[in-house]
Structures are given as structure tokens and as C-alpha cells.
Amino acid sequence: MSASYKAVGWNAFKKRHDVVLILSVLLFLAIFIGIGLLRQPKLTLEILLMRAFAIAAITLLHVILAIGPLARIDRRWLPLLYNRRHLGVTMFVLALAHSVLAIITYHTGSDLHPILSVFVSDAGARMTAVPFQALGFLALVILFIMAATSHDFWLTNLTAPVWKTLHMSVYVAYVLLVGHVAFGVLQSETAALNTTLMGAGILGLTGLHLFAAWSQRNIDNDIETTADDSEYAVVCRVADLEENVPLGASLHGERLALLLYEGNKVSCVSGVCQHQNGPLAEGQFKYGCLTCPWHGYQYKPHDGTSPEPFTEKIPTFDVKIDDQDRVLVRKHPNPAGTPVEPALI
């Protein structure tokens, strides 16, 4: 969490993470380029580099897209989610290096503007003439917008829902890049292993996302409420609550996090972190606050505000416990930061 903007709010974990990331990327490039030079010394260096950057970028993109669902399936993956934006910016830099080399190598030096050439030179209305470089260029534009707005400054100013929607366009970029690879280099590098790798990547990511959605279906499904209910909905029984571990539910499409804490208090807040819309119901009660599993943003459960000096706040819900030990939550949230007296068990 931060109360002001810095380029990167470094901490020990981030430093270690980025050192390992940079060394891993360099190792990848060294292996690809080293084997390439040994096997085919006449391969043009800029083409070898272009390919090395491209394959490193798309491999990293698969890792980036896998971390989200992996963390939803098994929370032990969450530490890798913490710095995912650094992976994204690194991937963009690799993709940019690939693109600059490709445009200089293949499109400069003719009578046509290089960028225009990307879109029109090899375009045609058949399978073998799909302008795959145009697909890659469009993906690069998306990745650029994402990298440029990756900082929390943009997250705050665009608001989390807008920022999150914008950054979900990584899936559009991924589809474009699959087309870029399938209609481009896979038409040339026809070894079955290459197609198999790309296919495994697509199937693996799709499978992971579907499985993660399936494993979270209980939270995503709305709580059933009857028409004659009052303003409150039954969310669970007291016995269902585990101290300091929030219980997630969804009410009229709105995620909430119900928390038993300090022995006998039950509070309910929005299940959506203000920072990046992280799943607060998958967090824990730490240092007197409900703590988001993604980046450690914290909210006091009785009023949904972050501890000072931080200013984030989320909606709260009225809670009560009936004589059958059922936990009832008011169907409509209070404005963000509204204090609510915890229900006592």
C-alpha cells in the first residue's frame, strides 16, 4: 500500500522478484541465441534476435496469464501475482524489441512508410496472405497501453473497474498474438514441435481459466433469496464462519466478504478491493484489518476504511444474527466507509 506515488515502491520481495525475472529472461535469450548461433551460424543476427525476443515475450505472456487462475485454484501462487505487473512490463519491452527489429528489417528502405507497409504489404484475402504482422502490431498497441497505465497512478485516476477492464484487454492481445504466430512464423517453421507448443499453450491457458472459474463457482453464484424476504438475506450459519478467514458470497451480483474476528464480532464488507478489484473474500484478517490477498491492501471490517494514512474505502453491509444462528446480511450496501456495528455471537 502507499500514500503517495513513487515509480516503484520497492521492498525486499520486489527486488528479489525482479532480479530473478531479469536473470531468467537473460537465460532464455542466451539459450535461444546460443543454440541458434551454434546450429546455424549464417542465420542473420537481427532475425535471430527478433525471434529470441518474440518467443521470450510470448512464453512470458503465457506465464503471466497462468498466474491468475493458478492463484485462484491454489492460494500459494499468490506471491507470484503480487508483482505480475512487472512481468507485464518486461513482456512488453521484449515484444517492443521484437517489433522494432521486425519493422526495421522487413519494412524500412522501400517507397512505402514502414508502418503502412506492416498493414498492406502482404495483405490478401486468403489464408496464406493473412497480414499477420498487422495482428502483431495491434497486439503491441494494446500491450503498450497496458504497460503505460500499469502504475497505481493510473489505477487510481481511471478507477479500479475501468483500469481492470482496460487491462482485461490482454486477452484480446493474446488472441491477436495467437493469430500473429499461427499465420506468421508457424507457416515457415513447420516442425510439429512448434505447433504442438503453441497448441499446448492455448489449451493449457484455456483449461486453467475454466477450472479456476469452476472452482470459484460457489462465490460467484448468487445467494438465493425469496421474494417475501425482508431487506436481509441469509448468507450462512454462524458455524460456517472460521475466525479471521473471510467467507465469500455474492448478493445480487455483488461480491461480499463476511468476517468473524476478535472472537465474537461479525462484519460484512464488499468483497472487491478498491486497489485492483482483488478478491477480499480470499484474504485474511491481519493486523486488525481484512487484508487483500493480491497486494496486501487493508480494510477495517467494521467501516471498510484503510488504516491511516491510507485513504482507500469500500462499501459495508449491515449484519445481524437471528435466533437460529443464521447470519443475515442487508441486501443493499452502505456507502463506502460507513461504520456498521458488528453483529455479536
Partner: protein, 253 residues
Amino acid sequence: MPQEPFFIGWESKAPVSLREFVRRATILFIAFGATVAAITSMTQRTTGSGTFDFGNVQSFTGLLLRHPVPLLISDAPIGDKRTFYLVNPLKHGFSPDVAAALHLQKVTLEGTLIQDNLDAMIEVVPDSVRSLGDDGDPATALPPSSSSLGATTLRGEIVDSKCHLGVMNPGRFKPHRACAIRCIAGGIPPILVTQDSDGHLAHYLLVGPDGEAINDQILDYIAEPVTIEGTLRRSGDLNVFHIDPASITRLAQ
């Protein structure tokens, strides 16, 4: 019930069990990446044999011809070659006007050698071509006269000669298609590259039925498998394939 270990990024230390998990996951990702890097690098297709002597500008002397494309017939063989395509820097063919003005004249020029084991080319330094004021003796300077090898149908891929002879390795196939189109549109001589069952390549300079340039008429057939009907001639060191662009047939890949 004990709480499961929980990671907070801004804490100084993560729980031990999570640290161990992250360590293993990181090793797994790195091993995955290293494997992908090795596989994709090892499966790259074998490239051509061409070289581009970039940075090494040399002087060449010989007879300049404008047909079938601008050529220099070198006074002395360089390696095993005497016939050199002439092209300008980047994606531009040799100026037709200069070729017409100096046709059948002995010239000296500066340029950079591009060659593979079949053909050779000079990327000419702009404005370096000088007539030596001697028309030479075409009877001795010219390569053996053009001889017809008859009508035939060839199967291969149309590429630009400059990239394929060595400026880019590989200078063929789909990723290079846009570049080849730009080069051929810019006047670089187009060639048909064929490959026999043993993998040996052959080059055929593509010109029209009367030896005219057909660059603009074949742009839609570049870097794809095609068959072409035409008449084959041997002109000096070059295979020259006289074709009607309408005879080009695109093959399913």
C-alpha cells in the same frame, strides 16, 4: 483450525512454507522457459548459404548489361562467379536509366558483395558507377550467349534475389513475405527458388516472355508455393525463366 499461510507483499518475510513453494514454482517456470527456448531454437529451419559482406565495400570492373536485368560481367571471376546482379541499397533495384545509359560499356563501380553458392550480386554504392570509356569487346566480355533449354513447368517459391542471396537468412517463407514484396516492388530482380528431393536449391531469374521486367505483375504470388510455366534459358551464369505471369498457379500448402 490453524490458518493457512498468508502472503503480504509488504511484510519483510513471507511464511516459510510459502517461500519454499514460491522457490519451487520459480524453478518450474525457469525450467519451462529454458525448455521452450531450447526446443524453439533447435527446430528452426536450416537457412540458406548466402552471405552479405556488409561493411566491406570493394571495387568491381566489368561489362554492364541492362538485359535481362542490370548485370555486371566481371573482367575476372570472383570465386567461381563472373555474373553479378546489380542492385541499389535497401529495397531498390538498380536504376534502369543508368543501366540503359551504360549498357555494353566497360565500367568500374563500388559495392558490397552478396552471394550464395549459386548466384552473386553487388549492392552498388550510389553514384559510384563510372564508364571507363571503353565499350569493351562484347564478343569476349559477354557470357556465353543465351541458349534456350525449352519450355518447362517449375514448382517453387518466388522471392527477391537480394534478401535470398544473403542479405537475410532466411530470406524466404511467410515471415519474409512482406519484405520480399517491398523489394520486388522496388525493382529487385525476382527469382524462383526450387528445391529437389535432396534439398538442393536452384534459382531462376523471372522475366517476361520478351525479357521484360514483370515485378509488378507477380506481387500477389510471392513467398507461396507456386508452379510456373515458361521457357528456360541459360544466360551466362544465370538461369533465366521467361514466363507469362498469367501462368503462375498458386498451390495449396
